[in-house]
């Protein structure tokens, strides 16, 4: 069941003398919805995801943090000290690094997740096959994971998380290693997760996540510059020209506005156009 993600005025420094990596970040992601966190490299997106999945506290015992976090029924003040898996799943930016390196086939790679959880199910194999079919990589079931393409590996990494039925799924710049065709396929898959898990995507571009997101957050230098609906983001995106590649989108919006009653309608048109496959 999908969990609500609530982050309240969360601040984080990697060390007491280091600058703030995150500053008073607040986030409220309703269960089953999708939140896209947009921002340039170094904005703090990965730091936030690592905090949510529970490895930040473990890896940086000297860190300084404040604020609160809640994922589903579990509340943390301020940081989880243990990995939150399987409640929270994280798909890393580099799909190849996600592979365990200790399993010979795609099916075994996904089963590895269940082994880690100590889940004794007779239908494990069937569950895995179902997930692989859903992600369109069932024909690769008996292939060694290292022979897969970037897009196939990313989908396999997603399968290794989905098999555990997480309440929240975090995707860290999922398209950075993919070509346009693979990006389109991934977009369809993430759309289908709506309602099943609460999804948080981080991205440096708007194209992939804008059609998927129920809310957009813009993060820059650890601070939230914007939090709102995709429509509101579209109407204000010229403000983020220095941090996101939105110039072209703003031009398109203005062109839509020429044949619309107002900018709002133009924003709706742009939103609809983006959502087309």
């Amino acid at each position: 069941m999908a969990a609500r993600i609530l982050v309240e005025r969360f601040s984080f420094r990697y060390g007491p003398d280091l600058p703030r990596a995150l500053a008073d970040v607040s986030l409220d992601v309703p269960p089953g919805s999708c939140c896209a966190i947009l921002g340039p490299t170094g904005a703090g997106k990965t730091t936030l995801l690592h905090a949510l999945v529970g490895i930040l506290g473990r890896h940086h015992p000297d860190s300084v943090h404040s604020g609160a976090m809640r994922i589903g029924k579990r509340a943390f003040t301020p940081l989880p000290r243990d990995v939150m898996f399987p409640e929270v799943g994280l798909v890393l930016q580099d799909p190849y690094v996600q592979l365990s390196g200790v399993r010979d086939t795609v099916v075994d790679e996904v089963l590895f997740t269940l082994e880690n959880l100590g889940i004794a199910t007779e239908d494990a194999q069937t569950r895995v096959e179902m997930i692989l079919r859903e992600l369109g990589i069932d024909q690769l079931a008996s292939r060694p994971p290292t022979t897969l393409s970037g897009g196939e590996t990313q989908r396999l990494a997603l399968a290794t998380m989905l098999i555990a039925e997480p309440q929240a799924l975090l995707l860290d710049e999922p398209t950075s290693a993919l070509d346009t065709a693979a990006t389109g396929r991934l977009q369809q898959i993430v759309k289908s997760l709506h309602g099943r898990a609460t999804v948080v995507i981080t991205d440096t571009h708007v194209e992939f996540s804008l059609p998927l997101a129920d809310q957009i957050v813009v993060l820059h230098q650890g601070k939230v510059l914007f939090a709102g609906t995709p429509r509101d983001f579209i109407l204000r995106m010229d403000r983020f020209e220095d941090v996101l590649p939105v110039h072209g989108w703003w031009e398109v919006l203005n062109r839509f506005a020429q044949s619309s009653a107002d900018q709002s309608q133009a924003a709706d048109l742009l939103g609809k156009a983006l959502a087309e496959p």
């Binding site: 440096t204 941090v243 989108w249 398109v252 839509f256």
Partner: protein, 250 residues
């Protein structure tokens, strides 16, 4: 000076061709954008350019030097290539030393000037005394580009230079490409980022399963939707929207 590919074939094993019958020319002052799905042969083409791989058929001349007869280190005088992962090359203790590496290896008499120009072009002057790993990842990628620029080679080739860059660095890359072309360098870029590079390309080369399916001007490519789709590629959504709205893409 030109790069000349003449009926180039390449295969790791005789029965598995990777590139088949590739021919094109590129002169200094021009920019060739190389497109194709993952696995189409783009990286192989790059490695053929500087002799890392030798063609199994046909010939490749870079500024008159046959790549089959010259070592990569000697071909680097004419073409300098950077690859996708900065971690595979960064080794120096400072950004400046990293950028000095190529002109020193190539014994350029004006090495100091080349380094300063590269630092200035890539806006890395302030970062010059820093350790490369103290820079954010995006700046490290810019550093690899700067390192190639400082080589002084007339041709530069980049493998996915905009991957992982944020808006600031993308704007910088914009500026760099314009400046490099204006200074008469020949550029080859392998990239999925049509939005960033298509407006600058003087020509586009499209690969599909190792074969050349298109070689021509960007305007021609944009008119023929089927060519891109045939190669398993799509126009990015922004470009598609601009096209549908009758807006200029280039």
């Amino acid at each position: 000076m030109t790069i000349e590919f003449r009926n180039v074939h390449f295969a790791y094993e005789p029965t598995v061709p990777v590139l088949s019958d590739i021919s094109f020319d590129l002169g200094t002052g021009n920019f060739l954008l190389i497109l194709g799905q993952n696995g189409a042969g783009k990286s192989t083409l790059l490695k053929l350019l500087n002799g890392i791989l030798k063609p199994t058929g046909g010939s490749i001349l870079v500024a008159g030097c046959d790549t089959a007869m010259n070592s990569t280190a000697s071909l680097a005088r004419h073409i300098c290539i950077t690859f996708q992962n900065p971690a595979d090359q960064l080794f120096a203790s400072t950004v400046r030393r990293e950028i000095e590496f190529a002109p020193r290896n190539l014994k350029r008499p004006n090495a100091a000037k080349l380094v300063e120009e590269a630092l200035s072009l890539c806006e890395l002057e302030a970062a010059a005394p820093q350790h490369p790993y103290d820079l954010p990842l995006a700046q490290r990628k810019v550093l690899t580009v700067a390192s190639a620029v400082a080589s002084g080679s007339p041709f530069l080739a980049f493998d996915e230079p905009s991957a992982g860059l944020s808006q600031l660095e993308r704007r910088l890359l914009d500026k760099m490409i314009t400046s490099l072309r204006a200074n008469g360098r020949g550029l080859l870029v392998v990239s999925h980022d049509l939005e960033l590079f298509l407006p600058y390309a003087s020509s586009v080369l499209l690969l599909r399963q190792g074969m050349l399916t298109f070689l021509g001007k960007p305007e021609q490519l944009l008119k023929e939707k089927m060519i891109l789709e045939g190669a398993g590629l799509r126009l990015p959504t922004l470009m598609r929207l601009k096209k549908d709205l009758g807006m200029g893409l280039l």
